[in-house]
């Protein structure tokens, strides 16, 4: 009689893994981006929703197809491409043509990420690289900002005028905005998801509190921009406009903290943040472009290997929270009779 023998599965220990996989991390990043997403739909109406969704579909499609063509296992389920898609959409003006969204996602997913081997092997942040490409190549489409529409069902009117952002006003005429609170809350002209620094801050703090991202990079990044702006102008309104306007918060809390492209050691992370901050200020104050945060992240990503070799991770050694000496165990008279 032929006996059926069932084979057992064999693998190396541990046989239990945490539920907090890459997809869990990326899901939490998406949760952190959710407040800004809802706000962007309110500020820029239906088209903001449309652009974000189309950007995510493009990134999902390119990720799936490129893995398929390379004959590798699909990695769509780790949600990292969804995060890239959302960040790309958040850094585009609401008037952007759909083909440009496709170009951005193609460049980010296929060229920057998958050509280098997929998640964990890309040398620069895919979203930062794609947005830099768009800013350099399609400057006109990328700077066509409109005033906020204020309403979830709003569509962009035919006669919508192109307005300038607070940052470009500041750069062109040195004129600080009237209402800084509006800029902080997001009621201002700008890209889809970047206008509300307040909600991005909430998302970023959420990630730091959940220990998904490290506080050192955003704090040193934003801190450096704040210090340099203050030293340049000795004007608090100027400094706050530099902080709350533009892509700074999105870049600091969601692009620069990408662990793959930032240094490993804690001191390296601080240096990385400072480099991001200095590069942002350099581009904003001396460059042609009004916004430099995304370029800055890209530059710092390329410097990361150098930082990693100069400030490597060290062996921390063993330390415990509290210990007792032998004398603590010596006989003591107990209080109870």
């Amino acid at each position: 009689m032929k006996k059926h023998k069932k084979l057992l599965l064999v693998s190396a220990s541990p046989h239990l893994k945490t539920a907090q996989a890459t997809s869990w991390i990326m899901f939490n990043v998406l949760i952190a981006l959710l407040p800004s997403f809802v706000a962007s739909c309110y500020f820029f109406g239906r088209r903001a929703l449309f652009i974000t969704l189309i950007s995510v579909s493009f990134s999902l499609g390119f990720e799936y197809l490129s893995r398929l063509m390379m004959g590798k296992l699909p990695t769509v389920s780790d949600l990292s491409c969804v995060v890239t898609g959302v960040i790309i959409a958040f850094c585009l003006p609401v008037t952007v043509p759909v083909w440009l969204v496709a170009v951005a996602n193609f460049f980010a997913i296929v060229i920057v990420k998958q050509c280098f081997g997929g998640i964990g092997l890309n040398i620069v942040n895919p979203a930062a690289a794609a947005l830099s490409l768009l800013m350099v190549s399609f400057t006109a489409s990328m700077t066509k900002f409109i005033a906020p529409l204020l309403g979830f069902a709003q569509i962009i009117p035919e006669d919508a005028t192109v307005v300038t952002t607070a940052l470009s006003q500041l750069k062109a005429s040195g004129q600080t905005p009237q209402n800084l609170f509006n800029i902080f809350m997001g009621n201002t002209a700008g890209n889809i998801g970047e206008t509300s620094s307040f909600l991005l801050l909430i998302g970023g703090v959420y990630l730091i509190v959940r220990r998904i991202s490290n506080w050192r990079i955003p704090v040193s990044f934003i801190g450096t921009v704040a210090i340099i702006s203050l030293v340049k102008s000795f004007d608090f309104t100027f400094m706050l406009t530099q902080l709350f306007s533009g892509t700074l918060f999105l870049a600091a809390f969601f692009m620069a903290v990408d662990p793959v492209t930032s240094p490993q050691s804690q001191s390296g992370k601080v240096v990385f943040g400072v480099i991001c901050g200095v590069a942002t200020c350099y581009i904003r104050f001396f460059g042609t472009y009004t916004e430099g945060a995304v370029f800055a992240v890209l530059i710092a990503n390329l410097v990361t290997p150098v930082i990693d070799s100069l400030l490597p991770v060290k062996y921390k050694g063993v330390r415990t929270v509290e210990k007792k000496k032998l004398s603590d165990f010596l006989p003591k008279r107990r209080k109870a009779q």
């Binding site: 069932k6 084979l7 057992l8 599965l9 064999v10 693998s11 190396a12 220990s13 541990p14 046989h15 239990l16 893994k17 945490t18 539920a19 907090q20 996989a21 890459t22 869990w24 991390i25 990695t75 780790d78 081997g117 997929g118 998640i119 964990g120 092997l121 490290n214 662990p259 793959v260 930032s262 490993q264 490597p312 991770v313 060290k314 062996y315 921390k316 050694g317 063993v318 330390r319 415990t320 929270v321 509290e322 210990k323 007792k324 000496k325 032998l326 165990f329 010596l330 006989p331 003591k332 107990r334 109870a336």
Partner: protein, 395 residues
């Protein structure tokens, strides 16, 4: 107050030993396969007749302990790695151990902890402090709970015996918060004893490892960690004067409705133990001999249980499968959980570059292969495997 250490993971998903459960005994099967412990040499030959309790392998050094047969019968095969004994079913006992000296008695009886280190040597070291480890830090394992609820009298007897053997030593009993119920029963019994203290330590993995427990509890160099089962065995040996031939094993896992605890003769195969389980709900996909965090997944159900096997787990859940591994995303979680303060992520990068200088700078030899890094890794990288290779490269 909760004492803890830096690093470690909370693996969660702890099984409970239901009150009213007992430690079941499994009879020895027809054939017993005794793996010869590391550093031991067999002293029996094929064809020789052995009695139950007779020493079949002796240790070459003082850290190991001798191994005794659980049954009487004939030695079928004796190689340097394993001894096969055919059970004659008569269970003829050998002579009782005569030694008066406690250290010789423990050595002859083969009392060890779950890592195979001799209890006799620990006592012979005459430490200033004994740390009794009543720590349960892994999912599914309920050995300590079972022993404390079913064999509390042996445990207390063991403590008193230790006090008698080592006159100047102090004893500290470490329990985890979820074992407080059992600990309070024991502390009532030892209320009058001034040399015994109770401490609560965290239930994080790998809290139960002796070097971690020592590090957590005390700065004192002269201390020895004694496990719960080891302590009960010390008491038994002094009482019955027979060698230790049984091991307390938890049979658990997500294929079972509850954890069951068995007292298994050394050399029983895994399939016998699994057949004795009563609360299965489905066929296991994977059988692990040892704990979830660092046990071995076995492919052969005839694999024998020796004194280092504390549990046999039957697993089904997809989480246990070795799948979904991606490239390291450099998140740094492994650095945060390493109890030895290593940076597994950086070690792996250096290993891939064949950079032995960096490997030694990162102190790769300190790795204890506990598996915390692999547990926490979101990219599902199997780190201990690579870390072991890195250690070999560094040597």
């Amino acid at each position: 107050m909760l004492l803890t250490f830096r690093g470690g993971v909370d693996a969660g998903n702890k099984s409970e030993f239901l009150s009213g459960s007992v430690i079941n005994t499994i009879g020895a099967g027809e054939t017993l396969v005794l793996p010869v412990p590391f550093g031991c040499t067999p002293v029996v030959e094929a064809g020789e007749r052995v009695l139950a309790g007779q020493v079949v392998a002796v240790s070459d050094n003082e850290y190991g302990a001798s191994l005794s047969s659980a049954v009487s019968g004939t030695v079928v095969k004796a190689t340097a790695s394993r001894i096969t004994i055919e059970n004659d079913g008569e269970n003829t006992l050998c002579d009782r151990l005569e030694a008066d000296d406690p250290i010789t008695l423990l050595r002859d009886a083969g009392v060890t902890d779950r890592f195979g280190f001799s209890a006799a040597q620990k006592v012979a070291n005459a430490p200033a402090l004994y740390i009794i480890s009543c720590v349960e830090d892994q999912p599914y394992m309920v050995n300590v709970q079972a022993l404390l609820s079913c064999r509390a009298d042996e445990f207390i007897g063991g403590i008193k015996l230790l006090e008698k053997i080592s006159e100047n030593a102090h004893i500290v009993i470490c329990t985890t918060p979820d074992l407080s119920e059992y600990a309070s029963k024991i502390s009532e019994a030892l209320m009058e004893d001034e040399r015994v203290q109770f401490l609560t330590v965290s239930g994080k993995y790998p809290q139960s490892w002796p070097h971690i427990l020592k590090r957590t509890v005390t700065t004192e160099e002269s201390c020895e960690v004694i496990g719960t089962e080891e302590l009960c065995n010390i008491y038994r040996v002094f009482k019955t004067r027979m060698p230790v031939t049984e091991k307390i094993v938890t049979l658990s896992g997500d294929c079972m409705r509850r954890a069951e605890v068995f007292s298994v003769p050394y050399g029983t195969c895994v399939s016998t133990l699994i057949k004795a389980g009563t609360s299965f709900k489905r066929e296991p996909l994977k059988v692990v001999k040892g704990s979830v965090m660092n046990g071995d997944a076995i492919y052969n159900m005839r694999s024998p249980i020796d004194r280092t096997v504390s549990s046999v787990l039957t697993l089904f859940d997809h989480q246990h499968r070795y799948a979904g591994e991606s490239h390291c995303i450099s998140c740094g979680r492994c650095d945060n959980v390493c109890p030895e303060g290593l940076s597994p992520g950086s070690i792996i990068k250096a290993y891939k570059l064949n950079d032995t200088a960096t490997l030694s700078r990162l102190s790769v030899s300190s790795c204890t292969l506990c598996g915390c890094c692999s547990f926490i890794c979101p990219a599902r990288v199997n780190l201990p495997l690579i870390l072991r290779s890195a250690q070999l490269m560094g040597e």
